[in-house]
Amino acid sequence: MKGMIFTLSFKPRFALDLSPLIPERMQSMTQAEIKRIQLDYGKGKLAVEKAFKIKSAKNNNIEFRRSTDKLIRIGRNMSKGTIIIKGDVGDYVGQSMKGGTIIVNGNAGSLMGCAMSEGYIQVNGNVGDYLGGALAGEIEGMSDGFICIYGNAGNCIGDRMRRGMIVIEGSAGNYCGSRMHAGTIIVLDRAGEHVGFSMRRGTIVLAKRPRHIAATFRSCGNLKMQFLRLLFKQIANMGKQYDIFKKIDPEVHRYAGDLAYKGKGEILILQPILESIKPGTKSA
């Protein structure tokens, strides 16, 4: 992929905020101007040229190389183009994202895709907590877009999520889909405790039955959910990396809840849990 390549030239000790480095902003800037951009670094500032070696080609693509978990807020507010991250990355990747694509070839921190309203995020590794969640003090989390994690995810996935879709090919931590307003979360391995805690609406699809389902979720029995045929076909159409969805049967055990919060949400547990289906291998 040709575009601007930022290779980290030092080992940061503090969080380095890369939110100014988004495609639409840099498109109109010269390389000299880009080099002079001041980034928040711990309590102070750091110029881009002191943090990165830059190779430039003008288009909407950005690549961060030798990334570490100290790099935060990559792709914040971006609305177009592609950002590829090679290595691990810190918190708030794709925060308030409005479009475009972010691909992480490594592990990512917490609050990835929080408050995003459009766009696509793919992580070929694990992620932390509050994936697609809400910013502190905000009522709603991600309001649209698509996040796919090929590894495992932390706690509170999709916390306060409003719309959009999160697919986790690995396992999810505790409180998956907590306080969801709506949207869809699919976990193709095991989810932790308190799935769907306080969810109002929305759908959580689990490939494996969790150890415990709260008493505020009521069984609706085993059903063939017509809607899942549509959902899985549409996801499978998004690319070869989602071929796994072609194999999944729409038969589920449906639980409606959280009845403490009007109970319009649902947990769908795939039957017969599809033990034979191994989560797909990651793709670049």
Partner: protein
């Protein structure tokens, strides 16, 4: 101009602008998709009294449908967006939603839309669920067979209605044999429908009537029983006139459908009782689209 002895009149078909939409009906099997499709296209032969004109466009393979089940695409035409918005959701509600295992999706994606599930969702009585997948909103309406899935809206596009040609034959039996073949051939043209029963009109009309309350009445100039009574367009040997009316998304699709249809008709020739092909027009005052028979057969 003559083809296989059949005279092609030097006249034109007069067509007018319409609005069209396409919906995709899927079901557990093609048989049940057809149940819904046949129901929704029933009583949709002419805007004169049905509100809309509609017909099955074609069968869809599972890989062509949004949910991977067998499906049918149905096209519906009306004089305005308002008419489509009034009739399509009603028909989907009564004909598709009531058919077991069906789902209904948009078949045209455009900026201009009419509602589908947007109004039908209320049938869910508060238990309906909205899902946005790839920027398309679907409604999941809990029903007794499971869930009825319906896309929120379907796109509408400008279209053309009223492309037509008349088949002047020795008897109805001769005319119908030729028309059946023509309709079969027209069905293979993408983006067109023949909304009348079997694709053939047995009672073509003219605009207006001696009765003030009637907007359309029998086209006496082409009625064989009135040959000696009125200023007839028919010669002695013609005993039956059938019409094929074509609605299409573009001028080209109607052109293609008319050409293919007329050529099929002409294959029968005078020996099999087909004498003339003509077309219905109203002196050019009704619609801006004129399909000259001889031009399109060149």
């Amino acid at each position: 101009m003559k083809i296989n002895g059949v005279t092609i009149d030097d006249t034109f078909a007069e067509a007018f602008p319409m609005k069209a939409t396409r919906i995709i009906i899927t079901a557990m099997s093609l048989k049940w998709a057809y149940m819904a499709a046949n129901s929704i296209r029933g009583f949709a032969s002419s805007v004169i009294a049905c509100g809309i004109e509609g017909d099955i466009e074609r069968e869809l393979l599972p890989e062509e449908t949004p949910d991977g089940r067998p499906g049918i695409s149905v096209m519906m035409f009306a004089m305005s967006k308002k008419d489509l918005d009034k009739h399509v959701p009603t028909r989907v509600g009564q004909s598709v939603m009531t058919t077991a295992t069906t789902a209904c999706y948009a078949g045209i994606h455009s900026e201009d839309t009419i509602s589908l599930g947007k109004s039908l969702r209320y049938f869910g009585d508060g238990y309906q669920i909205s899902k946005v997948i790839n920027r398309r909103r679907f409604w999941r309406i809990p029903v007794m067979h499971g869930e009825f899935i319906c896309e929120e809206t379907t796109g509408i596009v400008p279209a053309i209605g009223g492309g037509n040609f008349l088949v002047l034959a020795k008897t109805s039996r001769h005319g119908l044999a030729a028309c059946e073949k023509a309709v079969e051939a027209i069905k293979k043209v993408p983006g067109v429908i023949t909304a009348f029963p079997g694709g053939v009109v047995g009672s073509g009309s003219k605009v207006g009537s001696k009765y003030k309350f009637l907007g359309a009445s029998t086209n006496e100039a082409y009625c064989p029983t009135l040959k000696g009574q009125v200023k007839s367009e028919l010669t002695e040997e013609i005993g039956s006139v059938l019409e094929i009316v074509i609605d299409g998304l573009t001028e080209k699709s109607i052109n293609d459908a008319m050409r293919i249809g007329i050529k099929e008709i002409c294959k029968f020739g005078t020996k099999k009782g087909i004498y003339r092909v003509s077309a219905g027009n109203y002196g050019g005052n009704l619609g801006p689209y004129h399909f000259h028979l001889r031009n399109l057969l060149k």
